[in-house]
């Protein structure tokens, strides 16, 4: 069964009076356990599509259904709650909360869900161990390298056991070793725990690892290729 189902998604921006179709009639279906990449040149609509799938931006028309829930039938607060419980986000610039330590950043999502503090910290600790940061749990983001911060971001994205993780250019700010390590870790989580990852990326290393690659041009999916990924 598809985790994400979009139908005839259109997003039109108004740029100084000129309508721009950033997403132009996209139908996409993503199944549980996929490790997919949305690729395309700058301005092709990758981030916009990811934002709409993640419920951060509203489409001009069309629908997005996640596990059977029509995302845009929810009001703003319900959509925030939905994101909190069902969607994990990894951003290009890590975007950890700078005043919280690694473990607090991961536990934050669970605390927002109203889980008891002890349970939050226990789960956060396990997640940080699973991304190889058990010795960094009490470090603040500015005490961590870019790669380490992005691992914390992945752990945070997984904290609520989401239906899928949206990763917008997750390796863009990382050196090649950190990128490779991060991708290894995500691939392993995908393989072992069947976590669904959807990437928006330019990075060939990410594209090489993806089992499905959707190419976006001018807001349309021009190719959708499923294949065996290259091993690291």
């Amino acid at each position: 069964m598809a985790v994400i189902e979009s139908h005839e998604l259109v997003k039109i921006y108004d740029e100084e009076g000129v309508p721009v179709r950033a997403v132009n009639g996209v139908d996409v279906s993503i199944k549980r356990g996929e490790f997919s990449a949305i690729v395309g040149p700058s301005g092709s609509g990758k981030t916009t599509l990811l934002n709409i799938i993640g419920g951060l931006d509203e489409p001009t028309s069309g629908t997005v259904s996640i596990e059977g829930t029509d995302l845009f039938a929810l009001d703003q607060n319900e959509r925030i709650d939905f994101r909190l419980h069902h969607i994990g986000f990894v951003f290009q610039a890590y975007n950890l909360i700078p005043v919280l330590t690694a473990i607090e950043n991961v536990a934050f999502i669970l605390q927002m869900q109203g889980k008891p503090n002890r349970e939050c910290r226990q789960r956060a600790r396990e997640l940080l161990e699973s991304v190889g940061l058990s010795d960094k749990i009490d470090k603040r983001p500015n005490e961590l390298s870019g790669g380490q911060q992005q691992r914390v971001a992945v752990a945070r994205a997984l904290a609520s056991k989401p239906d899928f993780v949206l990763a917008d250019e997750p390796t863009a700010n990382l050196d090649s070793t950190s990128s490779a390590n991060l991708l290894d870790m995500m691939a392993e989580l995908n393989r072992k725990e069947e976590i669904t990852f959807i990437f928006s990326t330019h990075d060939q290393r990410v594209i090489d690892r993806a089992r499905r690659v959707m190419t976006l041009e001018d807001g349309k999916i021009v190719s959708d290729e499923t294949r065996e990924p290259e091993t690291a």
Binding site: L56, D57, N77, I80, R83, F89, F91, N95, I97, V99
Partner: protein
Amino acid sequence: MLHLKLAWRNIWRNKRRTLITIFSIFVAVVLSALSNSMQIGSYDQMIENVAGLYLGYAQVHQDGYWDDPQLNNSFGDSDSLQQKIASVDEVTHVVPRIESYALAAGREQSRASLVIGMHPEKEKVLVDPQQKLVKGDYFESPSQRAALVSEGLADYLNLSVGDTLVILGQGFRGMSAADKYPITGILDMGMPQMNKNTVYIPLHTAQELFGAYDRLTAYALMVEDARSVEEVVTTVRSRLSDDYEVMSWQTLMPELVQAIEADWASGMIMLLVLYMVVGFGIFGTILMMVAERQYELGVMMAIGTHKATLQIMMVLELLMISIIGVIGGAIGSLPFIWYFHLNPIRLSGTAAEAVEQFGIEPIVPFSTDPQVLFIQAAIIFGIAVIISLYPVVHIQRLQPVKAMQK
């Protein structure tokens, strides 16, 4: 708890900015508390001088006396009348007086002076001349033939304790009022105007001098709470016949009320300017806090943080900064207020003259009324609370995608 933790850590992300904001609030509270304490203190001093130390907080006269203050408008003193007034709950003391202007003379000089006949015991709660004695002795009875002369007048007339003072004037119903009295004491009235021309003689002696036996020109009333004086006046008035007028110190001294109101208004303008400066300072801080964290707020919303959580967090940050500044300012202003309460600023030049014309000692003691501090702290805190509405509104309008656009 999470909100508090986030807010507390956030305010220390930019230590310098937070400390500058706290310091500006601290200074604002100190300045506004000092300024207000000085104002209230000076008014208390004025009221205390004029009402608490001379006029009384209210007075009862024969109807028409205040407009035409002459002995013909005096009234008959009686125990029943005094008791009727004293039976009003808030009235603590009823002080009888008879007073009139007359010529006070020594061997070579004379001067028009205010001759006040007062009850030696009862007057102790009001003017208390005994405490103002710089030389000599106080009266022993209301019938003693003696006079207490203010220092300035004694100097002018070149008289001292043991000398004879001659009083020459007009008594009740046009009678001649002339007599001589041994000076038993010299008084420092504390107020320059009163120091120049005041003579006290015992009540019955004064009534005899003026030929106004058992008559008074005023009952000066002391009340429990100076702020409730208007209610006291209404109550006393309701218990007396129309033959009497009952006036509060505000009615007796409208010039003083106007002076206080004018000064209060100018003080308020100064304070408003101060509040605006502080308000803009805090607003600048909050603008920067919101602007530089716009992206972060967008991310927090994206990962599932409700707007209300972010709003609470931002408001808490501002409240924490304000509370630290306000409490610090309140504590910081205490030593200054206390110092100037004990060591009042002494006015000089035209400022002193302006005050002295009301018969007020030209000093500015600071008020230690805790309300002054509390109100100023509360106003500055209130300004911060109002300003904290800005991030609330801003976050309410924030969309995660727009917030995350760099």
